[in-house]
Symmetry: D3
Subunit: 275 residues, 6 copies
């Protein structure tokens, strides 16, 4: 879970975009300062390595006091920064934004996971590709106890209904789509019947897209009747959020995926204070 070269590049770009020609208010301030970042509310901490790296890029030194994944209480110190005032302030906003956003996603993921596991302890809560800053969002989902799902269009084959339609049905789509043996094949089903067909045709993962609770139940029964339930990974997707996740979890799917964590996180608030 360390910083990949891609994450480093993205943090560098965020600084470029935010700083421009330099902070007008601290251009001249070469005074050395010590500052700390503290949490202003509770949640699950994420983004510390990213925040640290932002300070490193401007020549300041940042020490992490609490690790990603920790439970936060309001007021706790997270990172100590030392450096020239102008340098520290030039990376402050980028560092705080990463902490706020990633901790928000980790916290929201942890809530979804907890709710779902109350009903079905083995369920996996997964995110989707509805994500604004993929490299950071996916990591935050994992820190919160969730599964990142696909990272890109190329790392798991997902036949969606649009593609199935164009290719002439699930069977033809599976035959025509060429895919490495190292990749799993997931099929999006629009109806219980399609779900069973996909399982019968050897899909690794079957996703029930926007199914009502009733339709999920019906699908599970059909799959069990054909002895297919254990041959596939069953994923429920579409419209799942904290208010209905337990209801879906009761049907014992393998995975519940949702964009709620990455599109509607409750950002955790952080602040930087000069000591």
């Amino acid at each position: 879970m360390m910083l990949s070269p891609l994450a480093r590049q993205k943090i560098q770009e965020m600084l470029l975009d935010d700083v421009g020609f330099g902070d007008l208010a601290s251009k001249g301030v070469s005074k050395k300062i010590k500052a700390c970042i503290f949490a202003k509310s509770g949640g699950i901490l994420a983004g510390t390595e990213e925040a640290q790296y932002a300070f490193t890029l401007v020549g300041a030194d940042a020490r992490i006091l609490k690790q990603d994944g920790s439970k936060l209480r309001g007021g706790e110190r997270i990172i100590i920064v030392r450096g020239r005032a102008a340098d520290v302030f030039s990376a402050e906003r980028v560092a705080l934004n990463l902490l706020m956003w990633m901790s928000g996603i980790a916290t929201t993921t942890a809530q979804m996971v907890e709710l779902a596991k109350q009903t079905h302890p083995g369920v996996i809560i997964a995110s989707t590709r509805k994500t604004i800053l993929p490299i950071f969002d996916k990591k935050a989902v994992e820190i919160g106890g969730g599964d990142p799902h696909r990272l890109r269009l190329d790392d798991c084959m997902l036949l969606k209904s649009n593609q199935i339609k164009i290719l002439g049905g699930i069977e033809k789509a599976l035959k025509l789509s060429k895919c490495s043996f190292t990749k799993k094949i997931e099929v999006e089903a629009e109806t219980p019947r399609e779900a069973v067909e996909a399982a019968r045709l050897g899909a690794d993962i079957v996703m029930l897209d926007n199914f009502s609770v009733e339709d999920v139940r019906k699908t599970v029964q059909m799959l069990e009747r054909e002895g297919l339930r254990d041959k596939i990974i069953l994923e429920i997707s579409g419209g799942v959020n904290p208010s209905n996740v337990r209801e879906y979890a009761e049907l014992k799917p393998d995975v519940i995926s949702s964009s709620y964590m990455t599109m509607r996180p409750s950002p955790v608030d952080f602040s930087l204070e000069v000591l």
Copy 2:
């Protein structure tokens, strides 16, 4: 409000990150298709030029049916796309994510603006630098009727309490900070007294940071007593959201700034359907 070179570059990077080696599920599909993007819920539309550009970059052709800023009803068609299936699908997620996120910010901004203007029609609702995708978030705020506030650290001087502390108070800070005559100077005040001091010393904008409604009222009275109220732009900031924005607006500040629109937007849902 057209696409700046920076926006174009960011959309290009989003595609690079999301597509990777190519969509496994549609690699072979060179069939020409026509598809439409439609809204699945109401809101204020934003992001159409960005979505269009994503399709352009993969060689597909996109025509915008509704302009940014329009009121959306669920089901309405927004964009028509034509191109090879593999191309259209490779840009689909990036296009939809931009539409969802930007329309969410525009919609949330419009709500804040409407609430505030009920009480104080002249008030400006502004965003902050707590933003995940600045170039897109700031544009969406404007489409929703808000003010983008600072774009970077270099386009308006904002003396924050940390900087004032290091520089030895507001007066010294204003003397030491060198800034072009083309830039405004904003001072963040922590107390009513500091707000008055900043106004007296010639700040263009005075920001009341995390003031209670009562303290804002007190500050306004003190400023009026000294004849300073009209010499400055008075900005309220910190903790403002749809539930309390009217209360603050009643005190007739010039500006209310909030990160609520960019950190907690309600994404508007869109979908692409092959016709």
Copy 3:
């Protein structure tokens, strides 16, 4: 199999690196020319879309006459280019290099596939991550009838012997390594015993690393005895080349992977001639 945004960027960089300030020998030549690229030897064609794009980037127009995957005969015309002489010549080398290299990989892959399928028609010939230009090499392998295998470190989990050693054996390694349900898990085995252990512990793919033919045979027997052979994808890897691929194929593995196609391709020769 169209050009991904990543492929486009790489071709752009190749031009930047090769052209520099401009071709000294044709700087002044704005004369419009028509030229053709033809094959100087036989093989399997690959790289036409890449070559075409290189010309597009310098403002020339290129029309593809033969599709990727076609069998080539020496002398055949592949691409017709039209444009200003200076433009055409500035992209010539990059275009030819891509055609030569990719066709070389496709041709070598096709040879390996043909040899292996003579013995075991169902076998998959896969490349490795020993590759110099991944985005182009993997595509050429597919054009030649092979499987690209992993694209990056993040799209299939491969526990190699170094990692297993550090994590304390296969069982612990599988427990400690967290991985999305959308990804397959592959384990590299150093001995027949390890291969069986990996299969027993639920690996999706078991790779026999640098096994002699005898050891592969022994492993298959042990797996069959335990009823595990059909539960896994069995991959042979290490030292496979055209001279021994049939011998390995006889043991009916699911996959034979080799870096021979990407590290030792026989480049196919192409030339550009002004018409």
Copy 4:
């Protein structure tokens, strides 16, 4: 022969492309390890500074034990790496690929040089622009004792037959092509007569393109007869490989150029082992 800024950038991009979101198999492994890279076969070593830099970029520490240009024996240790397991493994493949590929080119170049110098000790063996990774290939050629020839289209003027044809013959081509006095002028000849014409017109270098041994001999005689042989650098090019290089060398050209070293190197094998 140290790392240029361009080489550093290319290694950074290779890591970006290969690592993606991170190595699935070692994401959690923060354990400190010590590993060594050793050669699995003989050859001429190249790529150590490049491999070292790849590890540096992910925060690991690499010490070079043998210098570029050394003769390798199988089993020899080349580089010692220290760092967190996840960091070391994330750069492993890029480092090994650079070593394999560059050592392969250096080794093949050394073989060609040795063969040619047996017959004509003063001959230069040069590479061409048929190269896949120019910045690394050209350096490896030099390490192997060869000459890199042109680096780009802009650092030596090479009038090729296509350009001569368009410009109306060698004489006109030389007059029309404007070129700095700091650059040499090379002319590609298709016939002995053209070679003599180019020498007569003042070309610095005359390249005999795809000449038979007999035609080279004839050209040399014609040049000597006119007293032009010593006024030019005579380069033989086209179809030269280890099996015929001695035959060409016997004709005592100044330079023999070939793409054999960069298009058909025999990669030297390296492996990383945790100690």
Copy 5:
């Protein structure tokens, strides 16, 4: 005034462009050297942090002996560099060019400032967007005692005559142009009458574009008559240079802007000498 992320990136690109594959004349020279950069003529020093960073990027160590803004005498030592000869020489030209150019701008700015302040001590000398290397030119202007004016098109609204024309006059232009409350609004006037109109309509800054001294005088009188002179920042622009700056300064404008400093600086000469 430290190095922003943008400045760092630009210096990196300058090295990439200038070094290419490496310095032919010092490729093999790994000898450690100590060298100094000294000024060959007088002026105001600027560019030391930029020069230092260029050496840092190639692995050499540079110590600054004199600070930006110092008065230079010919022969003074500015920077001491230590490192491998090949590294030091590869960054030499970029470092010297930055010092020469930036010191030239700082020196020319200081001359303009001194001339203008002899007549009107309170006047600001500002640069324009006629600048070749904005990030470095603007900093050098500040070091020389000038004001950088706008940094980009987005950090101060400047309604130029072309825009006013299209929008239908100053009044309409001001109404139609939407702009954040954090930005100042500047209007370019072509006649004294337009200047007064802009002031009356609330422009923050009024720029007299290419006014004769006589027209400036007239404008000031008109503004004073209407009590508007103190409500605006009055800027004179167009054709100002060292020979006429005093004449304009006598009219007591707030600002005189000129592209003379960034388009016609007298570069200060520097040299690197091995010690």
Copy 6:
């Protein structure tokens, strides 16, 4: 002399840096306009293709009316632009800056060339690596009738006095420096004696660095006495400008190089006017 991929990339970056989030003053102006760029003073035109490309990048259409290298008269129309007002204005400054700067260099170069050729018609006027925007400056020098000299550190070997000192004199330096046969070798001489030594040792180009007119004369005599004058290209460099170039030209050197054209050009003024 068309736009190389590198030039295109640089113009793209200039736009990115100058535009930022967009032109505040024309964001809303989608009105289609037609504008022209005209010269405000005389000179030699350069930069038209660069200016045209800047407009192309923002979606506007630009037609060139006069070709690079033409003699300009004040008032002449150079380029016609058509497009949306906001687009045209967003590229205006970058386009004008390129035209001004490049035409300034071309004009100054043409003056130097004319002065020198009055005395010695065969002399070449060359620029140096003291250049701020190499890709554009070198092209402008050529348009003005000059020679670009070295483009980078890697395209001609120049042994400077610092390198000769470290390597132990000219003879050793020439032996130790390895360099492709495709590159020329230039030696910088500090004294007449060194110049003769360099010529004797086979340097292709000998540069007399900062020689007085008297020392140049002496060097030429010494070279002629030894029969070496015609074996080398003799270059005078250092401190040459329009006031002394004729004096140096009288000594009939092959080349006079100077940084005057790229460091002290007189920018030619251009303006954009809406029609």
